[in-house]
């Protein structure tokens, strides 16, 4: 093994090893760990508010040791954190905790996603019913959604609104949707029909197919109104200019 590679190998092993007594090596160990922990603090603010700083920071240290960063870009570090939390003691006491972490994660992904023009109602105005149902829409690059069986969404929102103490967990399953048509992330609760509609469009179903499936599964839902709400929220990307067919 070349000498520089061998040196790095030994040094990296020393960084990852537990410290026995204070040595200068401890400074490097602390700096590297602190960088990862601070990134988790920044990327999971509501999760930290729910469990408290002390517990969160201990979880962050454990996670950073188990899954250290594999990129120097820490803005989206912690992709595996919500899933990893499921194995931790604290998640058994707070059954909504992992989903709160997932909300934090989806919010952060929406924040840093690519900018794009959202679909505007105007661009649909001159289409008749059939051509509308034939459309294959694309989700806006910042759109994120999930279905959650826990009370996480209310807990997460309360933390974001700064009224974490006052929240009464609502134990109904619900969908969560995050959009960012411009610079600010919108977070809304969605019902099962809306979730089915979005899922279909994510899978490149035609609008008619996705809407039909949502209506069939949830006959009480006004799928047209749900679709209008999603356009309003900027959940879809603007239509790409149609290429003339040869």
């Amino acid at each position: 093994m070349p000498e520089l590679s061998r040196f790095q190998h030994g040094f990296a092993a020393a960084l990852n090893a537990p410290a026995r007594r204070p040595t200068p090596m401890q400074i490097y160990r602390n700096t590297a760990l602190l960088g990862a922990v601070e990134a988790l603090q920044a990327n999971f603010p509501s999760t930290r508010a729910v469990v408290g700083k002390r517990i969160f920071d201990a979880l962050a240290v454990a996670h950073a040791r188990a899954f250290p960063p594999d990129s120097p870009v820490l803005a989206l570090y912690g992709e595996r954190f919500p899933e990893w939390l499921e194995g931790e003691q604290v998640a058994r006491r707070l059954p909504y905790l992992c989903d709160v972490a997932r909300c934090d994660r989806l919010w952060m992904e929406a924040l840093h996603a690519a900018d794009a023009e959202p679909l505007a109602f105007d661009s649909l105005a001159d289409r008749d019913g059939d051509s509308l149902l034939d459309l294959r829409l694309r989700l806006h690059p910042a759109t994120r959604f999930a279905w959650q069986a826990s009370a996480a969404r209310a807990v997460w929102q309360a933390q974001r609104d700064g009224r974490g103490q006052a929240v009464r967990p609502d134990w109904r399953a619900t969908g969560v949707l995050f959009t960012r048509p411009s610079l600010a992330v919108e977070a809304v609760r969605i019902d099962a029909a809306t979730h089915r509609l979005l899922s279909g469009i994510r899978l490149a179903e035609k609008l008619g197919q996705a809407a039909g499936a949502a209506s069939a599964l949830y006959p009480d839902a006004d799928v047209g109104a749900r679709f209008a709400q999603l356009v309003q929220l900027g959940a879809f990307a603007a239509l790409s200019p149609e290429r003339p067919r040869p």
Partner: protein, 282 residues
């Protein structure tokens, strides 16, 4: 005259920073913090760039590693350079990536002929990918390493010769390393190729009493010994764009502007002393 003294940009300070009118003010950001696809962070930097010169300071290329710089990381860096047209681009004489793991830190290595070859290859690859010369920053040291074949100033001088890069002289790191390893900071400065220095970093270290070491904490204003090194360098070699790095326990923006004024005054005073010496000799 107003020497160009810059500040590390903090998003919390955006509203004040965008209105700031201090002459010669510019801002530096860590390139990796802006390697996202879109959103408000990039929009903020774009607004800042419309008013101020910008420096992109990389912390993740791991140039002093055995492996070549990550091509995807270089591509992301190039996108930022193309978009923001920064006045300065810099990286560190350190490594931070090994075997798929990234350490958010700047790690040391033994300065040998072999590591010199790796560093120069990596700097050249980075410069080719970014389409411009970059500045390489001297790191801070906390412990002596075995196996050095080169002193750090000689090593940096040889890198400059072989790659055409410039240097980012971090005077706080010189101060920290000189205190921790026990060498005179003035000898270090004397051995550096001053003409290659394109930027100066200043910061306040913090003592670690348990280890009896100085740590490059970026958590205080530059102390007297660091200002002394600045004055010495400027008197001998002229002014350079200088930056206050303050990343932890960051004070209000007004306090940073006041500290920046202090640095600008110190540089003017050092430059005036050059003029006086020249007049005496005329």
């Amino acid at each position: 005259m107003n020497p160009a003294v810059g500040l590390g940009f903090k998003a919390d300070h955006f509203d004040e920073a965008i209105e700031a009118s201090a002459a010669g003010l510019w801002f530096e950001v860590h390139a990796e913090n802006y390697m996202v696809d879109g959103g408000p962070r990039l929009a903020m930097l774009e607004a800042l760039r419309e008013r101020f010169d910008l420096s992109l300071h990389g912390v993740g290329l791991s140039l002093a590693g055995f492996d070549r710089p990550d091509p995807a990381h270089l591509t992301a860096f190039r996108r930022l350079v193309d978009r923001f047209d920064p006045a300065l681009v810099s990286e560190h004489l350190a490594w931070s990536r090994h075997g798929g793991q990234c350490f958010p830190d700047l790690l040391p290595f033994a300065r040998t002929n072999q590591s010199l070859g790796h560093v120069c290859r990596n700097i050249s690859l980075a410069q080719d990918a970014l389409g411009r010369a970059i500045l390489i920053e001297n790191p801070s040291h906390y412990m002596p390493l075995k196996g050095h074949g080169w002193s750090e100033p000689e090593f940096l001088a040889e890198i400059v010769r072989r790659t055409g890069c410039g240097l980012l002289l971090d005077l706080a790191n010189v101060h920290v390393s000189s205190a921790n390893l026990g060498f005179p900071a003035s000898d270090y400065l004397a051995a550096l190729p001053a003409a290659a220095v394109g930027e100066i970093h200043l910061a306040g270290p913090m003592p670690d009493p348990a280890l009896d070491l100085l740590i490059d904490g970026h958590c205080a204003p530059p102390p007297a010994p660091v200002l002394g090194l600045l004055e010495r360098f400027v008197r001998q070699h002229g002014a350079r764009p200088a930056l206050i790095e303050w990343d932890r326990q960051v004070p209000p923006f007004a306090e940073l502007i006041a500290q920046r004024g202090r640095i600008a005054d110190a540089m003017v005073a050092a430059l005036t002393r050059i003029d006086l010496v020249e007049m005496e000799h005329a």
